[in-house]
Symmetry: C4
Subunit: 254 residues, 4 copies
């Protein structure tokens, strides 16, 4: 009886009662507060002043998220798919969301032991995976996911062609600029210029200076427009199709 109550509280249900929604909201807010703490704690001046408070908040969050994970695992068998007390729970724990939950708690537990400070920072970062849990609370993202999956071949093809053009353009740029411009000292460096130009980011930390290099750079920048226009066109068509399918279904009902 209690296990079923806990299960219902933790699962996001459209027909959830008030308490269940309060638990959901509380967890979302705690995750957001946690991420904010990680971000702010990275500023040296803030860490010097409020480092202890952030540490205490970290311990508190750890207890809450740890408890949440334990309760989720304990109440798993309420879901008919994971009915078996042992095997069901194991399969339940292997779900992507449960793995993320575990990963977001584990590093915190590890940091309680003495560890190199640098490592700590890298490990603590994994806590940000908690943010991914927010998707558990969002349902409109599923349409996006479906559309992106259905257009995966086209999007991947665009990406492959883009990477192919990137390697070719960057290598050519390396040959054109290498002698006159010390900034282009290797093809990987030229590829850093290339990706910034193809995506029209254009940092400007590395730019061609020879006429031939600038001509090639201009052509790469124009090709970059196509790299935007093609996915925009593919996704636009996909969203139009989605709309027409929905309306078609509505028309069938009438």
């Amino acid at each position: 009886m209690l296990r079923r109550r806990v299960h219902r509280l933790l699962e996001v249900a459209a027909d959830g009662d008030r308490l269940s929604r309060a638990v959901d909201l509380g967890l979302v807010l705690l995750i957001l507060a946690n991420v904010t703490a990680v971000v702010l704690d990275s500023v040296p001046r803030i860490h010097a002043r409020y480092g202890d408070a952030f540490g205490a908040f970290e311990t508190f969050s750890l207890v809450v998220f740890g408890l949440e994970y334990a309760l989720r695992l304990w109440s798993c068998p309420e879901n008919p798919r994971f009915a078996d007390p042992v095997r069901g729970r194991l399969r339940c724990a292997r779900q992507p969301m449960m793995l993320i939950d575990l990963l977001s708690v584990l590093p915190g537990l590890l940091t309680m032991q003495a560890l190199d400070l640098r490592m700590l920072r890298a490990v603590r970062l994994l806590r940000l995976l908690r943010l991914l849990k927010l998707t558990r609370y969002s349902s409109s993202l599923q349409t996006f996911g479906r559309i992106l999956r259905s257009k995966a071949p086209e999007l991947v093809s665009t990406l492959v062609v883009m990477l192919l053009l990137l390697v070719m353009a960057s290598s050519l740029m390396f040959v054109l600029e290498n002698d006159a411009n010390p900034a282009f000292d290797s093809i990987p460096t030229a590829m850093w210029w290339g990706i910034a130009t193809f995506t029209t980011v254009g940092y400007g930390d590395i730019t061609p200076i020879t006429p031939a290099g600038r001509l090639l750079g201009g052509m790469v920048a124009i090709l970059g427009i196509a790299m935007f226009a093609i996915p925009a066109g593919v996704l636009g068509a996909a969203f139009v199709e989605e709309q027409q399918r929905r309306r078609g279904r509505r028309d069938d009902r009438t």
Copy 2:
């Protein structure tokens, strides 16, 4: 009788007479001239030479806009929704547009008293809210507003996913670059880099220099393309739907 005449003059009506249109146009031009004055007055050299003229123009505008606000409030009860002399006027004054009108006059009145110069500058800025009044004169923006509202869930989802990826990518970039690159001194700084890269703005004031950082930077830049393509696709589909609905209505009439 006079109140009705004033009400009609100030309201934007498609069947307005010549005088009403002249009043509308005059107000729009005065608002534009006012904003231009604020912008130009901020240039030190121009302020030194024409500061007094701008001040006089400011006082003149203040009187006109103050009068306009008073007349609008006085003639409010002509609108059946605000018929009651007191309560109607209060509800009328609570309309968003009336609040903006009030806000654009109040700071001007306040600056007539002695105030810290720095504050003055910040307060004077609110006058730019007068620009928003221009929307009162534009009707084609309403279609945009409707489409943006109808697609709000999709657009907000894109924004949330973008912010989520931004926090994760920036934190990872901080860990990768922090030791080798003094520019990445905290996660908030890394997020400034991240937002410039995700939106493909690419200022170039902070850029990664390690191979791992540049690899991550390239991936963020490519993801930035998706952040453009998805809203473009969503809005494209919405505009197509809008067209088909309009045409459908036209077909029904025939």
Copy 3:
């Protein structure tokens, strides 16, 4: 008889004979060669070496384009719309394309007299207007023109909203950054930053450095995505409509 022959030669006609097409092609090539000469002649080193040759080519082009303009004007009355020898020719000369033709010849004639060198450069630039004549030879641009005109209200609205947001964001940025950042010394300077950010160009010559300024900068950059997505959506819908209208016409014929 000769006048009709000349008129046909100079007009772009789908059923033009071989000679007419050769004349068209020759003029296009001469325009392109001319523009290339202007561009190259602006490079100091090239001007020092080939300045005389470019000058001679300029004189030659001037004679050809002058002759072309004179012949066009002379043969105008062949077009029934401009039948009257005097009034017809005057109305013919007032057509936009004829004005551009005249403008591209006039400055050349003027430069034959002694003039300040600096002025010369600015005046000579008008010759580039000859490039616009190329549109006389392109027919697929008309569809674009029609679509852009039919969507003008939406595109202008987007532009107006963008300019409004630009002024407000730049003024706010000026207030936020002015004290800490000497780069933001006036609202016009802040607007230069703002336009570079809104359009996601992101030169990086002026960037905010305070936390509040960077927060605002990030929001402006994200709004910049919308400034791309809305026109892309509007135009996408317009092109879809154009296609469906064309197909509808084809279906009606069957």
Copy 4:
């Protein structure tokens, strides 16, 4: 019999047996490994340490690709279109893909002889053309190719208008900035600024500093949005049409 077996092995066939697919996969992986080697070998530090290994790998790849080319040419007559032992093979060798295969092997053979090191680098680059062979293995790119070809007039028109505006805007910018800003020393240099602004790349290595120049720069940046929105709209409409044609065909079958 053996020739037919070889022909089938090398051709990409949907109904290929296991060995044929293994050969395809092996070649793709070898091409990718080769490109990676070229890229890494350009880094001076890596070349100093692993240059010999890369050289050996280059020789090995050369033998494999050379063998592949020879076998392809030998087995050509199995294709009925190239049945003639001599003329058929010649026509087979003139296919674009076979020319690329030959080009990707030839420079390698040439580098075995003594050549200037600089030349070597440029020539070796052609090996990257091997990457294009990957398209032999991708079929979803054909839809893209067809759509891009069917919309070629619109896309080329956009490009022509963009180049025309680029030349005009850059020349005008040169006149506006030349005296105050040494960075704008010629129209070609101004065009380098112009292309970076039109495509919203915005390196920031050359930026206008005069008020008039910045005003023009802002207008060019806004026009740059149109340069994105138009191809995105054209391609979006094309992809929508493609979908409707496919669905139409499906409906006809039912």
